[in-house]
């Protein structure tokens, strides 16, 4: 109870302290004045404060008012008052509208940049040829029955028996054979129909670039020549045709090379490298998907894909820098104008 009263007194005291100045000027409402009066009656500190405040205000009012030392008349030749252009009505509004528009543009540019980045990075980190390959692959497949695009697995076995293509090598990293990856990554519609690539050609392609008998591509490891397609895709390939003879590999004296061109009826093409055991076993396994798909004739373009590629090709970064610059300048101008205007009456 005592504690409560004490707190009540303290709050009354601070209320009184806050309002003494207005009390002095007679600017308090009758109720507030009554409340201050009640507290003043019982608080000596507040009475002293009021008295000294009163005396202070009295001293201030008694301060001399020096007269103006001279006339402050303006020259009679002053031109008619004209506002600086930035104070004219509408200028500030227009500037704010321009800033808002620039901000909108900036947001859109940021969105465009962000949207385009994943696609760029999906294409192998590399240059024009990669992009071109991706483009070719992208435009080709959809409706076109594309032959070997799916997967060309050429295997050369020394003993001449056609071996079952070995799939299931781990997902390959695109960096090993970027072009191949780029090409193979493009979705390929089921293309069971008419493989235009003969087995021989596939084999030739497979073995031609080989420096040694084993390597599929001049890349670091043949394993990596494939693309990152789900392993299951290749699990049960359906060999359509194209079992042919290849040219003898350099590494193996008398090999019977069997090339298998496989069309995999999957949405995603799987250009998967077969296991390459190395020159000693004379097994050459190659993926010809890259080169084949590059040869693909442009078919009916996939519209959305096209649009996305166009999105990638757009110079977003340049636009981003430009928009950011314009926006920064407009924001600075708006802030300056706002502060300048606030200084005017």
């Amino acid at each position: 109870m005592l504690d409560f009263l004490g707190r009540l007194q303290r709050s009354e005291h601070s209320y009184c302290q806050e309002n003494l100045s207005s009390y002095l000027d007679g600017e308090l409402s009758p109720r507030a004045r009554e409340r201050v009066d009640r507290h003043l009656a019982e608080c000596e500190r507040c009475r002293w404060d009021l008295e000294t405040l009163q005396r202070t205000v009295g001293l201030l009012r008694a301060m001399p008012r020096p007269k103006a030392p001279r006339s402050f008349a303006i020259p009679e030749t002053m031109p008619a008052p004209a506002l600086p252009f930035w104070m004219r009505p509408g200028v500030y509004t227009a500037l704010r509208a321009a800033t808002a528009t620039a901000a909108l543009f900036f947001v859109m540019t940021v969105a465009g940049t962000v949207l385009s980045v994943p696609m760029q990075s999906r294409a192998p980190a590399g240059a024009a040829p990669m992009l071109a390959a991706a483009k070719a692959a992208a435009t080709a497949p959809a409706a076109m029955p594309l032959p070997a695009t799916a997967a060309q697995n050429a295997e050369a076995l020394p003993n001449g028996t056609p071996a079952a293509p070995k799939f299931g090598a781990g997902a390959a990293t695109p960096s090993a054979a970027p072009a191949a990856a780029a090409a193979a990554e493009a979705p390929v519609s089921p293309a069971p129909g008419e493989p235009t690539l003969t087995a021989e050609e596939a084999t030739r392609r497979a073995s031609a670039p080989l420096g040694k008998g084993g390597g599929a591509l001049p890349g670091p490891t043949a394993d990596l020549a494939g693309t990152a397609a789900p392993p299951s895709v290749a699990a049960q390939p359906t060999p359509e045709e194209a079992t042919g003879r290849g040219t003898p590999s350099e590494a193996t004296p008398t090999p019977l090379e069997v090339a298998r061109a496989l069309s995999v009826p999957q949405e995603e093409s799987t250009a998967r490298a077969g296991d390459v055991s190395g020159p000693d076993r004379g097994q050459a396994s190659a993926t010809a998907a890259a080169s084949v798909s590059l040869e693909a004739q442009p078919g009916a373009p996939d519209a959305s894909r096209e649009a996305r590629l166009r999105l990638v090709a757009f110079p977003w970064q340049t636009l981003l820098v430009a928009t950011a610059g314009v926006l920064a300048a407009l924001v600075a101008a708006t802030l300056w104008l706002r502060s300048a205007r606030s200084r005017w009456p």
Binding site: S21, S71, M78
Partner: protein, 189 residues
């Protein structure tokens, strides 16, 4: 000619009409500038600048109290002056009382008997105390207690709300009181 007619006339590009307004308000403008800046020459410069700026800004005057509108310009100019002077300090308040011009400017015929009673050292103490206040509080307390403006007019002249004016005034007076009580100026009277 009444004030509104003078303003309208000045707005059309008539400096003479504006100078009639200058004549009516230069006293209060100079006094506020002087109390806020604390130096007669700088206050005169600020007053002149303020009237020139007010003439140029006339198209933005949208009615209401011309005095409050004018004093807002004066306060803004004073603020700029003080900022400049802080960068290159000139005469301090202590030199001012020794200035014969200043002393004579204090003893003109307009002083009331009560003002005459106010002793020189008390005035000095008050001036020093005012100079110690933050700018906003200084303008508020000068307009209210030295110039006798109403709360509403102070709000218009400082661009602040009534509540802000009240609290600034309350704090400014309390600070001045504390400072003067320290120096025993309050008990001497």
């Amino acid at each position: 000619m009444d004030e509104q007619a003078l303003i309208a006339e000045a707005r059309t590009g008539n400096p003479q009409a504006f100078n009639a307004l200058v004549g009516a308000y230069q006293g209060v403008a100079y006094n506020v500038a002087y109390r806020v800046i604390g130096h007669p020459d700088a206050a005169a410069d600020a007053t002149q600048d303020a009237f020139l700026a007010a003439y140029r800004a006339l198209p933005t005057f949208r009615g209401g109290s011309f005095r409050a509108w004018l004093l807002r310009i004066v306060a803004n100019v004073c603020y700029d002056q003080l900022r400049q002077r802080r960068r290159r300090p000139q005469v301090s308040l202590e030199d001012m009382a020794e200035d014969p011009d200043y002393a004579s400017s204090l003893s003109d015929g307009r002083e009331s008997p009560e003002e005459a009673v106010l002793r020189q050292d008390v005035r000095r103490a008050i001036e020093v105390a005012i100079a110690k206040l933050p700018f906003d509080q200084r303008v508020t307390v000068v307009l209210s207690d030295v110039e006798g403006f109403s709360y509403e007019e102070i709000a218009a002249a400082t661009g602040a709300s009534l509540g802000t004016v009240k609290s600034r005034l309350s704090r400014a007076r309390a600070r001045l009181r504390d400072y003067l009580a320290q120096g025993r100026e309050l008990s001497r009277r």
